[in-house]
Amino acid sequence: MNLTLKVWRQDGPEATGHMDTHALEGVSPDMSFLEMMDMLNDQIIRAGGEPVAFDHDCREGICGMCSMFINGEAHGPGRGVTTCQLHMRSFNDGDTIAIEPWRAQAFPVIKDLTVDRSAFDRVIQAGGYISVNTSGNTIDANAIPVPKEQADDAFSAATCIGCGACVASCKNASAMLFVSAKVSQFALLPQGQPERESRVQRMVEQMDKEGFGNCTNTGACAVECPKGIDLSNIARMNRDFMSAAVKSKK
């Protein structure tokens, strides 16, 4: 396959970016998208240029590091896949492909296609945990049965990889899907109950502080989510948030 690539180049957070055009020949349809990017970088380095910086690590769709906005879609065409799982067989010979970073105020560009997603970490630090210390004396793991359906739903919410595709896809750059997935995981488990109200309040507060936008229920986030995190999580978070606000003694 021969391709024309239009790639976003930006030296740093304050620099002005632009799209660069590269021709790439001899791409195999069996390559993953990132292997195609490796090939591009190899070509650039051998020609004496500076390669395109992009985040990637596990290359099997679970670490959440890769983050490319391809032809106007987070993680490119195809549903339920990350950029690293996208294969070139999804494209045609002669295609022009536009490759951009996640674009959101809360995710400043570090270089080229690499963005800073530490805002997500700070949202988790605000309450995305159950406050238990390491102890060799917690109760036996089977002491509290959890209905399978509830455990499965908690698991589904917990499969979020924190890639930020939801934010990148949302016209408001809202992080509601990400935050609600963590809120839901713990809201669905008995272990998460003691901090259920304070957790949702603190996480939402931090989310707002980071500059993520509001949710207007377009559902674009769930469509582009590589892990299929369900919109119902947002509904659950809204319910919990309202209920916590009503009960709050503050």
Binding site: D42, D57, C63, A141, F155, Q191
Partner: protein, 665 residues
């Protein structure tokens, strides 16, 4: 001499007695003690969180953009624990025994027993943290089986167990970060350890975004930096996984133990072409339900390779379920090293089933039928048709392994619900690593190694679902005790200064190396060298090894290393974000580590676990150990150049287990 510091007394009492006897640090003093944890996978996150909870000041580093992305996240199948929830005869002793046997009798009894003892606490702890393990309809935890054992002791969360456990540890870590007890440095890489008066007192780190070098001083340093499988270029490791932190420690005096013990995992998606950048694992849990086979007739295998026949056209009688044939007792659930070699043997003999001839089938057809029948019976269907049964069975399999099947479909462009998967062995895990004593301290005072980065628990072959167990055991339940015994002597030391001559010198050396790489102006990108190194390692130090091949590999690696330093091209500069520069430093270290691995493989004149020397095998082609001469840990001491490294032996003493030829027949 190496002192493993194993406590006296009966095996089952050692850990308890040890904990009763060690020195403790009082809470007020903990507040004036600093610990650095490098790496935030299961071993690192759990250690950083636990130490911070105890009151120490912790600094944690990861090269990724978030601690949640460490490669533990990709572990699929599960985590072992001797809970015996299934009432199938499991116990701490049995888990201990299985692990030592599975490791082909090349691990330390006391360490492994401790691991088995704390395994049950891990599950309790994780459930308390909100880790959503798979459950039965009654609400209790579900288990499944893994290779090399006869019980069901593996806890899991679909095919994403590592993700769920790491997010649990990441949560605990995040809580401590929010309290200010952990200073989390993301996109930071450790460049060297710093020694002051014979003790490890800090590190030189590099901020990967700005390129700045930083000095971090502490009373102790913990390396939780994972394995070095990427020395093979192609492996199931993440692209960034590297040996550099461990290698830097090695060059500062930490011995590297059993570096040749590499785990080649039998069930990975085969290589598709030259462009391949990494390999993807298909969880071992699939061997619970999948049956591995190749055609029994060579002409069928040839027809499949040419594309004139498909797997479905091969009659049942013409299939060779070679694991079930060779190992009737364990069948498809033999340990990884055995399953990998058996696949290689069939493919080398000409029975491989893809274009390259390097693939075997993993077939779920009989599982679809078996589960379908049970499901039909549950639903009360009378005389269901075969199609109905298969459809129901596929639903059950989907619920168990759905994400793995999706992943396969995505990568291989083939639907595993309709045709069998094709799989082949790939580099997955390294049992070798930094030598540590019972306290998990390396041969450098004050420098600890946990998780995959140490060598201690898995001998010559790791059993499935035991890496997660070890990472969390070390971080949550072992290190927090053992490090206290060391730090108790530091309560009067006061803060360590990073303005000393030692820090100065270490920083200067790091800077010089970076300058050399960035100004080298060679002609070939880093990956060019990495790929070539990988090819040498895979061909000569992979699934089977021999003297001539290893000697050739050593010479080839030396030549390649020389060429690298002359001709590598690192674009950009050292004062901004430059992933190529990061990679260059890592590959430079792999080019040294690879040589040591080959030297270790050459010195170990026996076959054991994942280390298969062609010269040492039974008439049936099984690994032939030499307990008389090789029941020891090879600990290598650095002496200026990898080729000069000295071999120090730690004899392995087996008091509780009788050494036997491993048999899974």
């Amino acid at each position: 001499m190496l002192d493993s510091k194993i406590p006296e007394g009966p095996l089952a009492d050692k850990w308890t007695k040890y904990k009763d006897d060690i020195q403790l640090v009082n809470p007020a003093n903990k507040r004036s003690i600093d610990v650095i944890v490098v790496g935030t996978g299961l071993a690192g996150s759990s250690a950083a969180a636990s130490l911070a909870e105890m009151g120490y000041n912790v600094k944690a580093l990861c090269f990724q953009d978030s601690p949640r992305r460490a490669h533990s996240i990709a572990a699929q199948g599960g985590i072992n624990a001797a809970k015996n929830y299934q009432n199938d005869g499991d116990s701490v002793h049995r888990l201990f025994y299985d692990t030592v046997k599975g490791g082909d009798y090349r691990s330390r009894e006391a360490n492994v027993h401790r691991l088995a003892e704390v395994s049950t606490n891990i599950i309790d702890q994780c459930v308390a943290q909100g880790v959503p393990f798979a459950r039965e309809y009654g609400g209790l935890l579900d288990n499944r089986s893994f290779g090399g054992v006869l019980v069901s002791r593996t806890f899991y969360a679909k095919g994403q167990t590592g993700q769920q456990l790491l997010l649990g540890a990441y949560s605990a870590l995040s809580r401590q970060i929010s309290k200010g007890k952990v200073d989390m440095l993301t996109r930071h890489e450790m460049m060297d350890v710093v020694m002051v008066d014979g003790k490890c007192r800090g590190i030189i780190a590099r901020n990967l975004v700005t390129g700045e070098l930083e000095r971090h001083a502490a009373h102790a340093v913990v390396l939780a930096t994972g394995g070095y499988g990427n020395v093979f270029f192609l492996s199931t490791n993440a692209m960034g996984s590297n040996v550099s932190a461990a290698w830097k420690a090695h060059k500062k005096g930490a011995h590297m133990a059993n570096p040749c013990f590499t785990q080649i995992h039998p069930t990975c998606i085969p290589v598709s072409g030259e462009h391949q950048s990494k390999l993807t694992l298909m969880s071992e849990s699939l061997r619970n339900d999948g049956r591995i086979w190749v055609p029994a007739k060579k002409e069928d295998a040839e027809a499949i390779r040419k594309g004139t026949k498909t797997a479905l056209e091969i009659a049942e009688a013409d299939r060779d379920y070679y694991l079930e044939r060779r190992y009737p007792a364990f069948g498809n659930l033999v340990p990884r090293d055995v399953a990998s070699r058996a696949a290689k043997e069939r493919c080398d003999a000409g029975f491989g089933v893809n274009k390259t001839g390097e693939a075997v089938f993993l077939d779920f057809a009989s599982a679809f039928k078996r589960y379908g029948k049970t499901e039909a019976s549950i639903r009360g269907l009378s005389q269901p048709s075969t199609e109905e049964i298969v459809t129901l069975g596929k639903e059950v399999v989907k619920a168990k392994y759905g994400n793995l099947f999706d992943m396969y479909k995505q990568i291989a462009a083939d639907n595993p619900y309709e045709t069998p998967m094709k799989i082949y062995p790939a580099v997955h895990y390294t049992m070798g690593g930094l030598w540590v004593d019972y306290n998990l301290m390396t041969s450098v005072s004050g420098l600890y190694a946990t998780g995959e980065s140490n060598f201690s628990d898995h001998g010559a072959n790791r059993l499935g679902a035991s890496a997660l167990m070890q990472g969390l055991a070390d971080g949550y339940f072992v290190l927090p005790y053992t490090i206290g015994d060391y730090l108790a002597n530091d309560i009067r030391t006061g803060a360590i200064s990073s303005n000393s001559a030692e820090f100065e010198a270490a920083e200067k050396a790091v800077q010089e190396r970076i300058d050399h790489l960035i100004n080298n102006n060679g002609s070939k990108p880093v990956d060019d060298f990495h790929r070539r190194l990988g090819r040498i390692m895979w061909n000569e130090c992979g699934m089977s090894r021999n003297e001539a091949g290893l000697k050739k590999a050593i010479a080839d690696i030396r030549a390649l290393r020389e060429e690298f330093w002359k001709d590598v091209r690192v674009p950009g500069n050292a004062t901004s974000y430059n992933p190529e520069l990061d990679k260059a430093g890592r590959v430079a270290d792999f080019l040294e580590q690879g040589e040591l691995m080959c030297m270790d493989a050459l010195a170990r004149e026996e076959s054991c676990g994942g280390h298969f020397r062609e010269e040492h095998q039974t008439p049936e082609g099984e690994a032939l150990r030499d307990d008389e001469n090789f029941a020891f840990v090879s600990a290598w001491e650095f002496a200026g150049d990898p080729s000069e490294s000295k071999l120090i032996k730690e004899d392995l003493v087996f008091e509780n287990i009788e050494l036997k030829q491993r048999s899974y027949k």
